[in-house]
Symmetry: C2
């Protein structure tokens, strides 16, 4: 399949501005241009943008993503390096999942807290709700 920049933008929830910006920054060196000068995206280009999104979404700056694509362009001698890069990124995602679960505990605590507060119409909770007081100690880790 062939896609215009607008179609790709819609598909991935980006703006055309953003995609052109990525291109300008050297993140899309594979994208060819048609006779009129417009970018033509193939399925593999869309896949590549999905990987860019994935790396960016797990905290890799565009500069480093660019370094990865440069590795790709250097051929088979960089295969090992690329493998290691993805393994590192996997560890990073695992760490993010741990952190996200910790955030979830804090948010769940706050929801329990405000549930109780709304029910009683005030937020001096710890005196009447000993379970919440315990939870607070557990989630925030002190006292």
């Amino acid at each position: 399949m062939r896609y215009s920049i607008g179609q790709v933008a819609k598909k991935l929830g980006l703006t055309t501005h953003t995609i052109r910006y990525y291109d300008k920054e050297g993140l899309l060196p594979f994208v060819r241009k048609g006779s009129s000068g417009a970018r033509v995206f193939l399925d593999e280009d869309v896949d590549w943008l999905l990987i860019v999104e994935c790396l960016k979404g797990t905290g890799m700056p565009l500069k480093e993503i660019k370094k990865y694509i440069q590795l790709c362009q250097q051929g088979d001698q960089t295969l090992q390096t690329r493998l290691e890069m993805f393994k590192k990124q996997k560890v990073k995602i695992e760490e993010q999942m741990v952190i996200l679960n910790q955030y979830m505990e804090k948010i769940n605590f706050k929801i329990a807290y405000y549930d109780d507060a709304v029910k009683h119409g005030s937020d001096n909770i710890y005196t009447r709700n000993k379970w919440l007081a315990k939870e607070r100690e557990r989630v925030f880790g002190h006292k």
Copy 2:
């Protein structure tokens, strides 16, 4: 317990610059100052910073975090609003977990891909490894 800005910074892995910046932006209105003008942090202030970190880490901009603290200062009449804010944030975290799992699938695919590529010393993989070709279709969703 009482903490100086430097102690809090160390505890939370922030810089003192960042904490002062948060204060300047109105994110720490509870923090009192001692006789010499230095900020004095109590355990509850550290908890509050942990919540700031949690909201920021799940994509809430500092401006919105500030709005939440303003709700807190308006007293019991905003308890319901605050509860709803945290419920929304919980949904957001759940969405992020889904996305993170999708990223993980893509990364795992890439690791399997480069594992195979390194083993064979080249990356024209799909012709010889039909499982990877199938995985690619599943993970990237096309063709």
